[in-house]
């Protein structure tokens, strides 16, 4: 599904991503783990086109997207959750979610002349998703007024609702209270059963290791180990990287 | 500033706005026979000093005219040289203050107001020498005459002095463009030519490079056709750059600040203007000139003389019992040689005047008529 080939990204002297290569197989949850500053989020930014790679290739189901713009990459089917919350604060929850559904809203003349009555099908989809996380009564509150955990949930929903073949999720449960953590874990599980392909960054080791099918470990911009969760759990190299030399 | 304080503030502002308009609208116009003049002058902004001088002329005339009993009232509006502002002022003066006569200064503002005045059949005196201004309608008058005559008079003088090459720097507006054209019309034939003619903006203060161009072209005479502050600065910078050719200039530079800026470089400048200081025989007008000198510490400027004469003329007409704009219009057109400081007033059929331009110069810090 996604292939990274000796990707490089330097910020001045800092080698954020240093000749990193790995592959994500379809219909699997792949976890990308490693200590802070290992280059995980930078890889996410390179794949989603927010940063331009210095060298190396990013292939997504056959297409070379190394130099593509974020909006083009997204329309190819990659949907991405950011590490910090990036909701539209002055819009309501419903408006935030509706934006993800399709790109009909970018057609100026169509919007100007049509009655843009919200289609039944979109309405129900939003309601269904909100019921899933028990936030149906927050439909018309401004996202600015939500709690941090609620914001993470809505943002996850927005990423899922955005039509995609591949999901990139950057620390979905970081800083979220245990109750909501369960809800998010349940959602990821549900997506896995539906056969979605997910690339996950998460620090919480046991959360990651029991959700992921495959684990890739990064340190100082390089991939230092790959394997099934059990193999990684007791791999000396990984422990060393985490606990520091 | 909690919520209540903010709402109170808003209520206060809105009340002021509504209250003042209501006061303005319902104010009973003063007694019937007083004639009202609405003066839309540039009282702030770049042209404030010219608005101020016109205002002085009006104030002086009002004191003389209203000595026994008040027959003329003047309402001032500040146009700031902005067209929208001037149009608002004109609408207010015509419709609320019910003025019979409008004064407007600066060519741009006068152009914007002319159609409004003409449409409402209100007399408009435009203190601008924009060529063809009074042709816009029979209610449009001007006491300044056409700017091109000044240019022509200076052209004739340059020919008398057998100058062959001339240079011109003129302010980028209708009046001074007219003067430049007038000068070229007369001067440029057989072997005489204007080697350089450049315009400058109102925001200009550094004329060095224009003057460097002129220095390279080596003209024998230089015409600075602009307002007093610009002409003075051009003069200073020209002398600093070593240009010592004879400098000609135009009406309006007869001000205290011109002498202050130019200091000794003003000596010997020759300019064309309509005002005739010395041979004003009429003792009353002599009195007014003295009054202006000791009240404002400078000789009466062209702007002041112009507005003064118009107010005096209107007062004479009103004293004969004429009260309405159409009637005043007829009386104005019939005026013949009304004695004025800025020259005797006789209106042609378009409502403009043709005044003979005389030459003046500066001799040991005084504005005096120029003799050969």
């Amino acid at each position: 599904m996604l292939e990274i080939k000796n990707l490089k990204k330097y910020f001045g002297g800092v080698k954020a991503v240093d000749n990193c290569s790995f592959e994500v197989k379809p219909k699997t949850i792949t976890a990308l783990i490693g200590p802070n500053g290992a280059g995980k989020s930078t890889v996410f930014n390179l794949v989603s086109g927010i940063l331009k790679a210095d060298s190396g290739k990013i292939i997504f189901s056959g297409a070379d997207i190394t130099k593509a713009k974020p909006e083009k990459i997204s329309n190819l089917g990659i949907s991405r959750l950011f590490q910090q919350t990036k909701l539209f604060n002055n819009l309501t929850v419903k408006e935030n979610l509706l934006l993800a559904l399709d790109n009909e809203d970018t057609k100026f003349w169509k919007n100007l002349f049509s009655l843009n009555k919200l289609s039944k099908e979109k309405e129900t989809k939003i309601k269904e998703m909100l019921n899933l996380i028990g936030m149906e009564k927050f439909e018309s509150t401004l996202t600015r007024d939500l709690s941090y955990g609620q914001k993470r949930l809505i943002e996850l929903l927005r990423t899922i609702l955005n039509p995609h073949k591949f999901l990139m999720v950057d620390e979905p449960v970081a800083g979220v209270n245990p109750k909501l953590r369960e809800v998010i874990a349940k959602i990821l599980e549900k997506l896995k059963n539906q056969g979605e392909t997910i690339l996950l960054i998460e620090h919480d080791m046991n959360f990651t290791l029991n959700v992921a099918d495959w684990v890739i470990v990064m340190e100082k911009g390089k991939v230092i180990a790959q394997g099934k969760p059990e193999e990684i759990r007791n791999n000396p190299r990984v422990l060393e990287a985490y606990l520091g030399e | 500033m909690n919520k209540t304080a903010k709402t109170i503030l808003w209520v206060v502002i809105i009340v002021i706005v509504i209250g003042a308009i209501w006061y303005g609208v319902t104010r009973k116009p003063t007694t019937e026979e007083v004639i009202k003049i609405g003066a839309i002058l540039p009282l702030t902004g770049k042209n404030a000093s010219y608005g101020e001088r016109t205002q002085r002329g009006i104030e002086l005339a009002l004191e003389e005219v209203n000595k026994e009993e008040k027959i003329i009232e003047v309402i001032y509006e500040d146009s700031r040289g902005d067209l929208k502002e001037a149009a608002s002022a004109a609408q207010k003066l015509i419709n609320i203050d019910k003025v019979q006569v409008l004064f407007s200064q600066l060519s741009g503002v006068s152009q914007a107001i002319a159609p409004i005045a003409q449409e409402n059949k209100i007399i408009l005196f435009g203190f601008t020498s924009t060529p063809g201004f009074t042709k816009q309608g029979d209610y449009i008058f001007s006491n300044r005459g056409d700017a091109t005559n000044i240019g022509k008079r200076l052209g004739e003088f340059a020919i008398e002095k057998e100058y062959k090459k001339a240079a011109i720097v003129y302010l980028n507006n209708e009046t001074h463009k007219g003067i430049e054209e007038g000068f070229r019309e007369i001067f440029e034939n057989n072997d005489r030519s204007v080697v350089i003619s450049e315009l400058h903006e109102k925001t200009e203060t550094d004329f060095r490079t224009i003057l460097t161009k002129i220095k390279a072209a080596q003209p024998q005479v230089i015409l600075f056709s602009s307002r007093d502050k610009y002409v003075a600065m051009m003069l200073v910078q020209a002398r600093e750059l070593g240009l010592d050719q004879q400098v000609l200039s135009v009406q309006g530079i007869d001000s205290k600040s011109f002498l202050e800026i130019a200091q000794h470089t003003a000596e010997g400048i020759i300019y064309a203007q309509t005002i005739v200081y010395e041979d004003i025989t009429n003792p009353e007008l002599q009195e007014t000139l003295k009054e202006h000198q000791n009240r404002y510490g400078e000789p009466m400027s062209l702007y002041a003389a112009n507005s003064y004469d118009v107010v005096k003329l209107l007062a004479k007409i009103v004293k004969t019992g004429i009260k309405t704009s159409p009637a005043i219009k007829i009386a104005l057109l019939e005026t013949r040689d009304f004695p004025g400081i800025s020259g005797d007033i006789t209106f042609d059929e378009t409502g403009n005047v043709h005044k003979e331009n005389k030459l003046f110069t500066v001799k040991n810090g005084q504005f005096v008529p120029y003799e050969e």
């Binding site: 927010i50 974020p70 909006e71 997204s74 990036k86 909701l87 539209f88 604060n89 002055n90 819009l91 408006e95 509706l98 934006l99 993800a100 790109n103 809203d105 970018t106 057609k107 919007n111 100007l112 843009n116 927005r158 | 903010k6 503030l9 808003w10 502002i13 809105i14 002021i16 706005v17 209250g19 003042a20 303005g24 609208v25 009282l43 702030t44 404030a48 001032y76 509006e77 500040d78 040289g81 902005d82 067209l83 929208k84 608002s88 002022a89 609408q91 207010k92 419709n95 609320i96 060519s107 741009g108 152009q111 914007a112 159609p115 816009q136 980028n172 507006n173 209708e174 463009k177 903006e201």
Partner: protein, 290 residues
Amino acid sequence: MISAYFIHLLILIGIYLILAISLQLSVGFTGLLNLGHIAFYCVGAYASALLALNGFPFWIYFLAAGFLAMIFGFLLSIPTKKLKGDYLALATLGFSFVIYAVALNWTGLTRGPLGLPGIPRPTLFGFTFSDNVSFLILTFIIVLISYLIIKKITISPFGKVLEATRDDELATRVLGKNTFKMKSISLATSAFFAGLAGSLYASYITFIDPSSFTLLQLIPVLCIVIIGGLASLKGTIIATIILVLLPEPLRFIGFPSSIVGPARQIIYGLILLLILVYRPKGFYGKVELE
């Protein structure tokens, strides 16, 4: 007929309304700090005046004013691709200075500071809007149509994309929307209506010169957008009425004649600063720019 004075003020309010709600579209709804709005107003006014003076019928020079301004809108949207916040404000401010300088110096086309006098009043289906009452009706209709169009844009999903671009452009792009295209459409649309306002202004005052399009003219419109409240058309309407009427009562206060000019400016400046200090968020502003 005191009403003539009020009709004049209502026409000015109408023209400023179109200017303000169109600026609101780019500043309030799309977060584009557009300080070049007066340049579009100027382009519209000159295009309309020049075409009208050469005998073109009303609906040609009126729409031409809008479309020409729109083209300049697209032109100015090019820098919005990489410029953000302050830098965009500076670029658009620089753009308005350039347009002013061109209007002042291209004397062949615009007659420079001499301006364009004698601009004809509009004639539609044989009827000429020469008196102010009929001109007010024309202005009112145009204001209504402009308001409905802009209102429709802002409440439509397209409007929501604009607001999303304002709140977090990167997140909007990651949802697959070409935000640069959105910003250029928003800027071009707001320029179009500014051009229409320019055409109305030229046809109403019947004389225009560059001095009507300087930085000082931008300040009232910008204040209306800020004080009315970002992304709130209702607030913009109220703020327009107040700010256009604000200087009028000062005419009726009897200042001694020698200081009447500066006195009014001082009061206007003071009220402006007071409003800014005590109401920086505006009446109905719910939106906080970063």
